[in-house]
Symmetry: C2
Subunit: 356 residues, 2 copies
DNA sequence: TCCCTCGACTGAATCCTTTCAGCGCCCTCC
DNA sequence: GGAGGGCGCTGAAAGGATTCAGTCGAGGGA
């Protein structure tokens, strides 16, 4: 990065123009503050004449309501999304779906991304502190009881985990079915040495004690184990970090081992992409090592990648999450659980093994 | 998505527990509100004894300051990022860099994503309304004068565009140099029929009148034109939407044309990925049509993709953007311009043409 | 001993919006 | 013609933090 070029300070300290307030608008329009407030919020009890007057004043003064002040008594018109990994395209799909669903509403979406070493609760707390009107948490690694405490104050939709609650809504994919489809597919192709590579489950430590079994990845792993054992095969599970680079390293080591797998079932597509890169670098292809991912992110469809993957329709999940929050804000108090049916898309990355 | 399973309302309307306020903490610790405030903000004039007392009370009451209330008089400890396209991995890199830079600070980052049809100003306004302490805008398609008005009130860093301002800081890549590298590379490989496929520039309409020339993509296009004309070749520029799918369609049509190009210079990697998919689907490869992208997103390095691309180090841009904002918040009033030097990474996607 | 200074702490004002109780006024209905 | 009700609007309180001017007490210097 080239050295900075500071522009000379022109001496005159620019006086910050005070942005206009609802008070200014009221004075300008010759009405009370309360009246202006009603116009803004489209509330009941506003004559046509006053509406046009106030709107004109708002226009003239370029008035914009301060969200902070609104939040103190009313609503912030903001929905917060906790996103565990910004670069993950599955999460992007969720955001896309939600953006679309929110487009015609007065609600603005904000995203609190998780830092590399940050925990979910930091981001969720940060959203709650900002008094968002609703929160979407994606497979958060926190204690369900803690989540319920948050949900007591702020409508919350949790995407991914399979625990249920009366307090918050959940949206899940049927991870059992998805993983079954993957395993059936690989087994039918004739694979026997199948490795499962996935992310670390949340550690079973307080305050999040031993509930990891509800996490999507953990369920997929369980299905993998069952199916392997049912065939009298030895399961082999490897855990890595979220980011695909460790998956890449691990795969490279696997390929160098005396008896490398003929197939790898990846916990998600981000990992699968990392795995594919190691296989390609080694000069191998799908008939040496097949790979199946999970999420069906856009790049999986790309003909150069052509990754077999489980589609769980993240866009719909995001859209539904937004809808559920809006419903809650409109008054619903009962909890809702949605589950969608995943579907395996078979592509080039999975094939019959060259030698079983 | 499977039908909803409403949990039965258990009748007892749960009384929302009132979260504790600074008042409660003050009472609990036997001090004044102002004292608690000072402890929280690490302000001057706090004895060791009082600090420990107050901190204990905060702990006991699980007190968390309300950002909305803080924002009304002080700071919101929030930095806002306007992101024009959530799925774009270059923008993800910027966010990653910024997240890292902010990790050790009390500042939390929030992202305002742009909807499909939304304009930059909506997202930027929305951040300003939320009284974030600073804003990062990425190649926003708004009038520079408008941006300066925002910057009068809130420190602002603009990434991408090449216009300068005394009011806000800018971070750019040297797009001229980057585009020169691309064109030199393609020409040296022997390409002559080179098409440039890029995104639509902002329309030269009020309130953003005819300043599109400062946009990174427009500069890259200008360089392309110059180099083609210098060789006596006819430039051919095609504009598409942000998203790679239209690039895919357009490329397919190009390949079917009587005299298809031997190389395509893509305005960014997202487009390049879309172009590559059309080429691969047509059963062609880099010796039929070479492709060069811009941004060097992570997937470009993937051996299955191996896209030649210009690296402008988005992670550093994000980190620097965060740093510049923190500097402003610490008191700097002069504007700073940073520019980094892009570097072309040659990969498999660009090769000598099979027949020139 | 008295005055002054300085550090630690407090009380009250302030930020901007929503909400709620209440007040005229006009219309309708009996 | 009076009661009642609905509509349109207002004034003031409330919400939770920061900030500023000031108070108090201890310690130092003359």
């Amino acid at each position: 990065m080239t050295s900075a070029q500071p522009t000379p300070d022109n001496g005159s300290p620019v006086p910050k123009p005070r942005p206009s307030t609802i008070e200014d608008v009221a004075r300008e329009a010759g009405v009370s503050r309360a009246a202006v407030s009603k116009v803004i919020r489209n509330a009941y009890g506003v004559s046509e004449r006053m509406r046009t007057q106030v709107e004109a004043a708002i226009e003239r003064l370029e008035y914009r309501p301060r969200v902070a002040a609104r939040a103190m008594r009313g609503a912030s018109f903001t929905l917060g999304f906790e996103i565990p990994q910004v670069g993950n395209d599955f999460l992007t799909m969720i955001v896309d779906g939600a953006t679309e669903a929110l487009a015609a509403t007065p609600y603005q979406m904000i995203i609190a991304p998780l830092g590399r070493e940050q925990k979910s609760d930091v981001a969720i707390n940060s959203l709650a502190d900002r008094q968002v009107d609703g929160i979407v948490a994606i497979a958060p690694r926190v204690d369900p009881a803690w989540l319920e405490r948050i949900a007591e104050r702020t409508p919350l939709v949790m995407i991914g985990r399979h625990d249920r609650s009366d307090r918050y809504d959940t949206i899940t994919g049927d991870d059992r079915s998805g993983a079954e489809q993957v395993m059936s597919h690989l087994i039918e192709l004739g694979h026997r040495r199948i490795v499962h590579l996935t992310i670390h489950p949340s550690r079973p430590e307080p305050p999040w004690a031993g509930q990891a079994g509800d996490e999507p990845h953990v369920i997929r792993t369980a299905v993998y184990r069952e199916r392997m054992l049912a065939l009298g095969l030895e399961p082999s599970v490897i855990h890595t970090l979220f980011d695909g680079s460790e998956a890449h390293e691990v795969t490279r080591a696997l390929l160098d081992s005396p008896e490398p797998p003929t197939a790898i079932f990846a916990g998600n597509d981000t990992l699968a992409i990392g795995i594919l890169s190691a296989i390609a670098e080694a000069g191998l292809d799908e008939r040496d090592v097949s790979v199946v991912g999970y999420d069906d992110v856009p790049i999986a469809r790309h003909p150069l990648v052509s990754l077999t993957s489980v589609d769980q329709d993240g866009v719909t999940m995001g859209r539904e999450a937004a809808r559920l929050l809006l419903e809650r804000l409109a008054g619903r108090t009962t909890a809702v659980q949605l589950e969608n049916a995943p579907r395996l898309h078979e592509r080039r990355s999975s094939a019959r093994p060259r030698r079983p």
